[in-house]
Symmetry: D2
Subunit: 432 residues, 4 copies
């Protein structure tokens, strides 16, 4: 197999092919070397500009190198601020905690505590599952079809994706899989969950937790209805299970509110966060839990990098800049509408295609992974970074920074539509 990056025109290309593992992935679809980035735009080694509709898989909700976060981080560096803080107390950590309490928790009446886990989303999910199991004395966790929660073995057990599950190499236990909202024709999945929870012979062991995303990002942008979420939350409560919302991809504003479940009438016991939490793309993860579920002992779940102080610095700025008032939210609806309208035009090109997702976490199901992939590849040639999701990669998925200026959103959507038209025309000609 020839590696697309091994050509001489890409500085550094050789070293990737020679020394980096076959497990590398995104660089195969976007085979250039990136050197700089600001807001919603990246630049490659040839100086070419790209619009970023991927945003680090929702890790860069505020765009690249936000100037305020950058300035704060440079000041921190300049003053020899702590970089690696284990779980010691540091000034930036205290400041982040205060900002999070003031602007996120208190306005929502949440008395949750924060646990800083190893700085990956999967690590937060592992911790959340441990907490639920210890708090309830049960082992089983209900997770849903097409859910994605990470690939370390504890989290992977809850992930639906068969490719990732296949990588485990050992059995994955402790999780019962149930259909997500709207999963299969002729199946009301809340009815099924209710029946199984009530039936002592259903084979569904009493769950420690019900773990779900409100919008399944990797699973194809399936958005659960609020009424389904409320019903599941009620069933969890009635049956002594904790409700864990994995808000790693849908949180931090991606679906609208700071939490993806804001305004939906549910109050999760545990919330996992990562990705855009630091605001700057730096590794950071967090578990929120009610005080009565704060049951793990000191370092019972630990990890050397759980005090990434650089991330605390930028995360504090992110909270204070974007979530202290409603200016940010005010722009959200308009931008989300621009994206939705663009996707509607895209979907209109493919008979049977339909929109998926909500907020700024939207896509178009084009019914074919080949087609969606071809469109994204063509868009990349025209300077747009956008990826597919869904079980068969059939959904073109837009995760633009929430701060993307309207005109760049429109420019990116224009590239995408043009790529789609060209691809479809090409296919039509090929078919004739």
């Amino acid at each position: 197999m020839t590696d697309t990056v091994s050509n001489g025109t890409v500085p550094g290309g050789d070293i990737f092919a020679r020394r980096e593992s076959e497990a590398r992935s995104y660089c195969r679809g976007f085979p250039v070397t990136f050197t700089a980035a600001r807001g919603a735009e990246l630049t490659d080694a040839q100086g070419r500009r790209y619009i970023d509709f991927l945003a680090g898989c929702s890790s860069l909700n505020y765009g690249h190198n936000d100037p305020d976060m950058k300035a704060a981080l440079m000041r921190h560096l300049d003053s020899d601020g702590i970089a690696h803080g284990l779980d010691l107390h540091t000034g930036p950590k205290a400041a982040f905690l205060r900002a999070f309490e003031t602007h996120i928790l208190q306005p929502r009446g949440m008395d949750h505590r924060l646990m800083f886990t190893g700085p990956t989303g999967a690590n937060a999910v592992e911790a959340a599952m441990k907490i639920a199991r210890k708090a309830t004395g049960r082992t089983n966790v209900v997770a849903f079809t097409n859910g994605f929660h990470g690939v370390t073995l504890g989290a992977l057990a809850a992930t639906g994706n068969g490719y990732h599950r296949g990588g485990a190499g050992v059995g994955l236990g402790g999780v019962t899989r149930l259909p997500y909202d709207g999963y299969a024709e002729g199946v009301d999945s809340a009815d099924l969950l209710e029946r199984m929870l009530a039936d002592p012979s259903s084979g569904l062991d009493a769950p420690a937790a019900i773990l779900l995303e409100t919008v399944q990002g990797e699973g194809g942008l399936n958005a659960a209805r609020p009424e389904w979420l409320r019903r599941v939350a009620g069933l969890a409560r009635d049956h002594g299970a904790l409700l864990i919302v994995d808000d790693i991809q849908a949180g931090c504003g991606r679906a609208g509110g700071f939490f993806s479940f804001d305004g939906m009438g549910i109050a999760p016991d545990i919330v996992t966060m990562a990705k855009s939490l630091s605001g700057f793309g730096l590794p950071m993860a967090l578990v929120l839990m009610r005080p009565e579920h704060d049951v793990l002992g000191p370092a019972e779940h630990n990890g050397t990098f759980r005090g990434n102080t650089h991330a605390f610095v930028t995360a504090r700025v992110a909270i204070e800049k974007f979530w202290a008032d409603d200016r940010f939210a005010a722009q959200f609806e308009r931008k989300a509408r621009i994206v939705a309208e663009g996707l509607e035009q895209l979907a209109a090109l493919v008979p049977g295609a339909r929109l998926k997702g909500r907020g700024m976490m939207r896509g178009a199901d084009l019914l074919s992974g080949d087609l969606a992939g071809e469109i994204c590849a063509r868009a990349f040639q025209q300077g747009l970074i956008v990826e597919t999701s869904g079980p068969h990669g059939e959904v073109v998925k837009i995760l633009a920074p929430l701060t993307t200026p309207d005109e760049i959103l429109r420019e990116g959507l224009g590239i995408l539509l043009e790529a789609a038209r060209t691809t479809l025309d090409g296919n039509k000609i090929a078919a004739e």
Copy 2:
């Protein structure tokens, strides 16, 4: 329970007690708020200075805020360099790869490939176990008594510590536990391993891998003899198992060479690295594997933060500054001797106490977790950060930065000895 940090003299103390989870740990032993750090010294909010013999549990082998790494990172930030790069190609990543190839791999004749996993040690161990299982088609992994490999469920199965294992809340499978070198009186653990591997009814399922640390950092600074390592390596090879060296704590110079096994006559199939890899304490992890074991498919093991580009920037500087020639190594022996001599004086105070570990990863087994803990607490009051390890916390463990100036090493050891003497005197008086 009163929280020691909740007093008014510690800025920010209240917020930790109010909002941070009970899982916090180090901050209980060192209950001040740190604000700045450089080299082997930290400063707290009151301006007090501390010598750091903990070094982020060996994540800060080159000290805090190394000026060259700091400068490189500030330049990167200033130029809007990529912060979060998924697994895309970026300039800093290419530069790191080249430096790692030139200064680490090529001089050792290693054709290993690099896989950047989620940026925690546990994540690297999870990936390493997946690789070994996929490459061999087997599931069992042999791990050793007192080994510590992380707390996500895949890695936790290999970790010996019962407190952490107890946090799992579910069964931990796929691992067979065997005694480490010198574990029990009257037990030659290599003989036992050999016998069990050769015996089809031993109950030891044919292993995918044998996973070990050459010095068990958390397990009490148990250092395996080179001849034991060679024998285990030979048994792994003869029985079709991959040898995985977990060099997360002992690597990056801590035990002498860049790899803890340098010069020991073993050639691991897989090496896991994290902690000091970035040089600056930033989250970064790595799996090295031979090309023939590079079997995971694209993103089969993934994670959003596997391209922490800030870490690539500092990690490159660390390699080029410390490992491009042997000036760094030249000072190592002298510093290690200073530490050893200090620990010998400490051990001489406690009948039956003995030295453990090797290189700059050394400690004194004081036979009592209470005593060791009391000494460390008293040392902290005098401005020294040092912790215990071992099954009962009975080992005072020194993990000073490798770059600590000799006089600071001596100053810290002096504080430690004084703390020990005071403690022992106090105990003697109490006993009388």
Copy 3:
């Protein structure tokens, strides 16, 4: 707690209370000491007669002490025939195999092979799951809500009953639970299965087998529709999974044909049998598999008692006497109708009650475990042995011997109806 059997009027009662484990069960509901049995009737130590509508949970489909089987077994004993034959060749084993081939397999065009497992149903299920896993190289087994397959850990993983699952004391893995036919309102369970099998991100790992009962005996006499069975069989075939029918309770004529799926248009890859297989109530179990799935090596699944030669002797007679022609089947429909009519009268007494099951495996769901239990207890006082089943014990379940004379069927049903009327009258009075 006072043990009902500890009174002086029951010979031997004391010894049970004193020395037998609390795990004993049926003897609590039927607290007398039985001494003899013939056909559908038992006698206790006081000489009292009982009609048997339990039939050893369908292990005595041909009644107690069938005279032809008994005569054959006495001849065998008299001639010093082998009792315990491991898996050696013995004359009675050869004779059983020939009879089974001639009267069961050949008429149905089945080329299946027979594997004699340890003589319990659970052991046959364990073997069947091993076969499917080895033949397919997969691990996952799909099992259904309310399925009951035994309580050894491999089989227990497939059993739905929470009380039994709770006894495991360890995690039960390798099984995915899906809803059985008609399980939950608003759920077409074949649609769900189809969707999950087709979706690589559903979290349903590609199954080695789909394991089901055509009528769930312990689960509450849920009878799957033939069209659902055909659809599931088709899905198994299309997705490379083996179809395992657990015919331990529903087979040997209980649901009509020798196999419960006779005439339903499905051809299972594997069938498990036990209970009435020996015809005489002697321990015996069997796995039928297609030649291409005969993959277990010699003794790979073994067990000392897999050659219970006494059982081979009686099992051969059972096949030749009842399945060599259609006289037995000719009476079946009439007897099944008598039972159904009796149960309809029972159900008519309780608003909302409904009939369940099919063939001679029928019951009435009385909506209340307390009520059903009280009726059965009262019936026992009047000389009828009958038990409940279902998740809440809410189904009065009749498993009379298939050979029960019509008049005894009617007599037993009369006792049951009278018990129901008395109970309901009593409850009505109590409520007033």
Copy 4:
């Protein structure tokens, strides 16, 4: 592969090859069809006589068709005694319980209760493990190298044999493997167990039970020293683990006393029995546990055939005939000495060979599975049934009925020695 049984001279041979699964095993080594048996002798379809040194793998300790048991069983049949009794009270069950209490438990001062499990040894082991897990609230079970406890998944996890373990097709968890007494040179396995139990970081999770055979029958006739057993029993007690002795093969007189541990100074919490328990080779299994560990609820561990009343009938006779006084034991030592002397002569033929086992459970380790197998095959041609055991089948193992007349013991040993000499002479000639 040609099947040795498919020749016309073996009545019934065809049907086995045509219809019986490849999992059949003993019949491959002894490819004739047996028709009758009495005491220590069998007869095949050609009327040929065989001496039985296999005794149903110790299931026929009192020989085939003991006349007193046979007479009792025929009387029971003749009187329409219950055959299949679920766990109902029956006269024969009460009589067995009384005999077991009077002659086995009371003389030993054991207050244990009896639980009749599904009638296989594996089922008893599964129940024993459940009891220990429920009684202690722990999951881990310590089992030993070369232990054999059955092949259903719960029991198989404790079995060491890799061939059988490989049949699982899924991970086997919940068991930690440690070396048996004398397992590896340079390893004191009780020291290792003690160290690991005392060390909270050993990776040995606090065990629910320590499960062992006092003589490992399948594992190669390894006999533990009484002092090792006492030390392990003491460690179990000190660490809150139940001691489970699996006496399925070594019990019922095989190793001397009724229990293999009689007179050794240990008092197991739980004992599993099966094989020779019924005395007649009929399927029956039993778990003995102390009253305080009688924690399983009604039918929590169940099974249809747990009331094999025919077995109760013969088991009672076995107890009363052989264990009511010491006449049986009186002959045991003499017979055991005859066997030992014969095996010494065998071992003397092979340099390095040595005796193994104890009591009437003895063998000679001939260092080569090929040699041992060839000798057994040749012995069979001369009318002796004897098998090998051990990890490589290198141990010729004698399990003659305990009632074998001295002259038949000597006759069988003579055949064995002659077969060994002929084989060794043939090998010597071949080598020249």
